[in-house]
Every structure is written in structure tokens, then in C-alpha cells.
């Protein structure tokens, strides 16, 4: 009898369970979950603070899910060691669990660089987990002043979630713009303006030199008084379990398109991995929910003896702040690397398309995101732009640009 073990209980783990159960409904699946909760929708923690969802709706799967999937979940325990030659996982209470196939779905952790005086700050939180969120919620009042370090996706989503529940929010970042990993300067400026109009204050190109209790002394000489501090500087993949066994890791656990790591019978999926990004033909950590599910699912199918290749991973993001929707995908090449940029602008709308060698490699859409999946499919499917009417597409996302055979297949066939 084979035994599957999954370390982690996030969306990648669920993809893995569902991948295994496509073919193998019998053999045991053991899930090791450091967090003491059934799987929940991590991206919804800011929507929870905002009151747009609640704990019940945040469940990613139904109450009876693990039972229906014939899984045993070990809650509140952490895997601390893998013995790859004995094919065993050791937990923090010394329990030893044997595996035939193992999947690492360990996600990422909030990275906090050393900051002077941080230990003097009483109310400081990360914003990664449900427990972080509940702790943060219990620390705020309607009079709280919040300082968020990090103007990335997590920091800004936290700001949006807290906005109507506190007195004021300041976000600082070393970068010269918000969402620097997915937006270029002009797009970031547009988003920043919108956030400022909605009451968020920014200190960009600035960082905390030191903390003294409820005061942050910035490098620029400014000071910020706050009641609650949120640390959202960045995330790092949880790779240690594999690197300690001699497996290959870079910024994430290295995987191939079957989700195999360099160690036999050990797979990995989700935020803890670094896999091929086809928009740049390079390996990247793609810390996004859709990729976590699809990678997990692919790993699960292969663990159960099936055959799956997931070779279409790209970064892609859909985020909204106070009613303004932003979508980004792929890679943006500068002109000295052969990239070309097309722009469409109108009132409240900015769209940028990045192409190279006759392919769409990336896009940024602000304000008009209708049918954006058509653009995403051009990147994922590597559709040559000379085979379609790209001029029309730049103005509006429409499937009319495809050939009549393709449209027949899309809308007259089973897809």
C-alpha cells in the first residue's frame, strides 16, 4: 500500500490532493498542517478585515472535504526534517511518518530584515495568515494609526482592508513606486494617486532607520507615530526542508514541469517553488494562487502514477483597490533587450502591452480589464502576433481576432 504525504495545507496541497484522487481513490494521504485550520483562502484575509467575507466563507473547501477525499490531516504540527533515503518525514513532536511519494507545499514566510529598535515595538504583525489577521484585528481600534512597511501587494491589500476601521494609514517602501514588482513607474503613479485619493499616505524611497516604541525614525529624517505596525517587506519561499536533504534550491525549491524536485519521489508545488516561467523562459518564484493550484494538481497526478506536464506557468495578477482594478501578466522587456511597448490611454484607463520577437510577453491593464483572459491566453499559448489582428486587440479584448477555425473550435466545440 502506497502512502502519500503532503507538507503544508494551503491551495497547492489541495491541488495535490485533487490530483492524486483523480486516479487513486484508495491509498492514504497524510497532510501535515502547521496552521491549526482547514484550508482557507489566504488572499481573502484583507477582504475579511474589510468585511467583504467572513470566516465561514473563507473556507476554500467544504466542511467534509478531507473526509470525502480520504485524507488524514495532522494540525498544528510542523515537519522539521526529511530523511530522503529512509523516505521519512519527522515532525516537531518527533513523530516519524513514512512516505512513498512526498509533496512539499510549504508556501512562503514573511521576511523581516533586521531593523533597529524593532523589539521595542509592542504591536507588530505580519500579514500572511489567518492568525496574523485575527491578531491584527484585535490590536486595532477606530483611533489607531497604522504604519505598514512595504508597498507591495500584501502591504497595500492590508491597507485597503484596514482603511475604514482605523484613523490613518501610512505605507512606506524603499522602492520609488507602489507594487514595484508588477507595475512600471507610470502605472504605479496612477495606482498610487488612486490610493491617496482614498486616504492612504505614502513615504516612498524611504525606509525606517530605527524604531522607538510607537515612533519610526525614517532615513529621510521624517518621523512617523503609529499605534500598530504591519511588516510586509517581502516573502521568502520555505525551502529549508529540501535544501537540508541536499535537494536543489535557489530562491525556491527547483522543480521541472512535472513538479519533481531533484530528489526522487519528492515533488513540490506552490509558493515554495521556483519553476519555468514561459513568459521569460527562465525560472521564477510565482507566488500566486492559480499557479499554486495548478502546480499542486500536476504534482498530485504524477505522484499517483499519472502523467501531467504543467508548462504554461506565467506570473499573473488581478488586484483591485477601492474599486480600481489592475491586471498584470507576464514579463516586460525593455527596448535594449528587444522589447516593444504599446500603450492605450483614455479617461481612467491605462493599458500597456509588452511584446518581443512577435509575441506578447506581458501586459498591464488599469481601469479596463474586460475579457483580459484573451490577452493572457496569447502569452500562455505563445500565439504569434502576426497570426491575429493585434491592432484591434490593443484597443479591446475580443475573440473576433482569431481565425474562423479557432472561433469554431472555441464556440462550436467542446473545449
Amino acid at each position: 500500500m502506497a502512502q502519500y504525504v503532503i507538507i503544508g495545507n494551503g491551495v497547492a496541497a489541495i491541488g495535490c490532493i485533487e490530483g492524486i484522487r483523480k486516479t487513486d481513490t484508495q491509498n492514504t494521504i497524510i497532510v501535515i498542517s502547521e496552521e491549526p485550520h482547514p484550508v482557507y483562502c489566504r488572499p481573502l484575509i484583507s477582504y475579511y478585515l474589510e468585511g467583504k467575507t467572513d470566516l465561514e466563507r473563507m473556507a476554500y473547501r467544504s466542511k467534509d472535504y478531507y473526509k470525502e477525499m480520504n485524507c488524514e490531516v495532522i494540525y498544528g504540527k510542523k515537519a522539521v526534517h526529511i530523511d530522503a533515503s529512509a523516505k521519512q518525514v519527522v515532525l516537531d513532536d518527533d513523530t516519524v511518518i513514512s512516505y512513498d511519494k512526498l509533496c512539499l507545499a510549504t508556501g512562503s514566510y514573511s521576511f523581516v530584515p533586521p531593523m533597529k529598535g524593532l523589539d521595542t515595538v509592542e504591536h507588530k504583525y505580519s500579514f500572511m495568515t489567518l492568525d496574523d489577521t485575527l491578531a491584527l484585528e484585535s490590536a486595532i481600534t477606530k483611533d489607531s494609526k497604522i504604519l505598514i512597511v512595504g508597498a507591495g501587494l500584501i502591504g497595500l491589500k492590508c491597507a485597503e482592508g484596514l482603511k475604514d476601521r482605523v484613523a490613518g494609514i501610512t505605507v512606506c517602501d524603499l522602492a520609488n513606486r507602489v507594487l514595484s514588482s508588477i507595475l512600471d513607474f507610470d502605472c504605479a503613479a496612477m495606482v498610487q494617486r488612486h490610493l491617496e485619493e482614498n486616504g492612504i499616505s505614502f513615504l516612498l524611497e524611504d525606509s525606517v532607520a530605527s524604531f522607538d516604541k510607537n515612533t519610526a525614525y525614517m532615513k529621510s529624517g521624517k518621523t512617523v507615530d503609529f499605534d500598530v505596525l504591519v511588516l510586509a517587506v517581502g516573502v521568502r519561499a520555505n525551502t529549508a526542508l529540501l535544501s537540508e536533504t541536499g535537494g536543489e534550491v535557489n530562491r525556491g525549491i527547483l522543480i521541472n514541469t512535472k513538479m519533481e524536485t531533484s530528489v526522487s519521489d519528492i515533488y513540490a508545488a506552490g509558493d515554495c517553488t521556483e519553476g519555468e516561467d514561459i513568459s521569460c523562459n527562465d525560472k521564477r518564484v510565482l507566488a500566486l494562487l492559480p499557479n499554486a493550484y495548478m502546480q499542486g494538481n500536476c504534482a498530485g497526478i504524477n505522484m499517483a502514477g499519472g502523467s501531467c506536464v504543467f508548462g504554461k506557468a506565467i506570473p499573473m495578477n488581478s488586484i483591485g483597490f477601492f474599486g480600481l482594478h489592475i491586471m498584470t501578466a507576464g514579463s516586460y522587456y525593455p527596448s535594449d533587450e528587444g522589447g516593444e511597448l504599446y500603450e492605450e490611454q483614455s479617461q481612467g484607463v491605462l493599458k500597456r502591452f509588452f511584446t518581443r520577437n512577435g509575441y506578447l510577453t506581458g501586459f498591464i491593464l488599469i481601469g479596463d480589464t474586460s475579457r483580459a483572459g484573451i490577452y493572457t491566453s496569447l502569452i500562455r499559448e505563445r500565439i504569434p502576433l502576426d497570426s491575429i489582428d493585434f491592432e484591434t486587440l490593443k484597443k479591446t479584448a475580443t475573440s473576433t481576432v482569431f481565425s474562423s477555425e479557432k472561433r469554431k473550435h472555441f464556440f462550436g466545440g467542446v473545449v
Binding site: 491541488g15 483562502c41 488572499p43 481573502l44 477582504y47 467583504k52 467575507t53 466563507r57 473563507m58 473556507a59 476554500y60 473547501r61 494562487l289 492559480p290 493550484y293 495548478m294 494538481n297 499573473m316 495578477n317 488581478s318 488586484i319 483591485g320 474599486g323 482594478h325 491586471m327 501578466a329 480589464t369 474586460s370 475579457r371 483580459a372 483572459g373 484573451i374 493572457t376 491566453s377 499559448e381 484591434t392 479584448a397 475580443t398 475573440s399 473576433t400 474562423s404 472561433r407 469554431k408 472555441f410 464556440f411 462550436g412 466545440g413 467542446v414 473545449v415
Partner: protein, 144 residues
């Protein structure tokens, strides 16, 4: 299973399907009170250029990428029909970002909606198909 299919060459571009869809999903008994003078948010829409036009609605894909991508676990599939739990949806539009067919769009409150084949409303079968004057959309079994 039965799905909605398009006969592109027969579409007149009359947009009746959009109105029939909006009405079928309005929960109202009378089309005038349901639609008159209001912006409509149908779950089917006409794509057109100067040569062609056709109606686009959810394909109820065999392996739907929207389900895998939904950040709220709000999309599921039962007996082949892909369904959005609007109570769980938070309107993040990730499904719009991934659907290759441009088949979803939010409702007037920013919550996601798409064609669910009129199985959940009182119509019981696709209202767009029933009302199409030229058989440009059909509801039938086709082989996979």
C-alpha cells in the same frame, strides 16, 4: 452534456440574447420592469466586427481554468456545469484574467456572474437560445 453552441454565420447581431438573458436572470416576471431604462448586465454578449458577429457565453470547459484560479474557492463544477457561488465571490476578477474566451463579467455590484445555462433560474433552459430568431445559438449535445 448539453451546452450552448454558436452558429456564427447565422447570427444577425440583434442582441436579443443579451436582453433575454438579463431578463431570465432578473427574477422579475415582466420584461419591461426588469430592463426598461436600466443598464443591463447579461451573461452572454455579442462579439462583432465589420464582417462577423456571434454570441459568447461560458463554454463550461472540460478542465476549467477559472475554477483553479478563483482566490475565494467560489467556482465549482457539478455534472459538467460550472457554477459561481456569488455569496463567496469577492469580485477580484482573477477569473476574468484567466478565462481564454472572455466569458465572464461582473454584475452591477461587482460580483462575478456568467452563463449557468438557466438551470438555476425559473427559465430552466437557456433563454438566449429559446429567443434567438435565427438559430444562431443552439443548446445541444456535441461530442467531446
Amino acid at each position: 452534456m448539453k451546452r450552448i453552441y454558436v452558429n456564427e454565420e447565422w447570427c444577425l447581431g440583434c442582441h436579443l440574447c443579451e436582453y433575454n438573458c438579463a431578463f431570465a436572470n432578473s427574477g422579475k416576471k415582466d420584461m419591461i420592469t426588469a430592463l426598461k431604462g436600466k443598464p443591463i448586465y447579461p451573461r452572454i454578449h455579442i462579439e462583432e466586427n465589420d464582417k462577423i458577429c456571434y454570441a459568447v457565453s461560458c463554454r463550461h470547459c472540460m478542465d476549467p481554468i477559472c475554477i483553479k484560479s478563483c482566490i475565494a474557492g467560489a467556482i465549482s463544477k457539478t455534472d459538467g456545469v460550472v457554477h459561481i457561488d456569488q455569496y463567496k465571490c469577492v469580485g477580484c476578477l482573477t477569473c476574468v484574467l484567466v478565462c481564454p474566451y472572455g466569458a465572464l463579467a461582473p454584475n452591477e455590484n461587482g460580483i462575478m456572474q456568467k452563463c449557468e445555462l438557466c438551470l438555476e433560474n425559473t427559465c430552466g433552459e437557456p433563454a438566449c437560445v429559446k429567443g434567438c430568431p435565427n438559430n444562431a445559438i443552439v443548446y445541444e449535445e456535441r461530442s467531446e
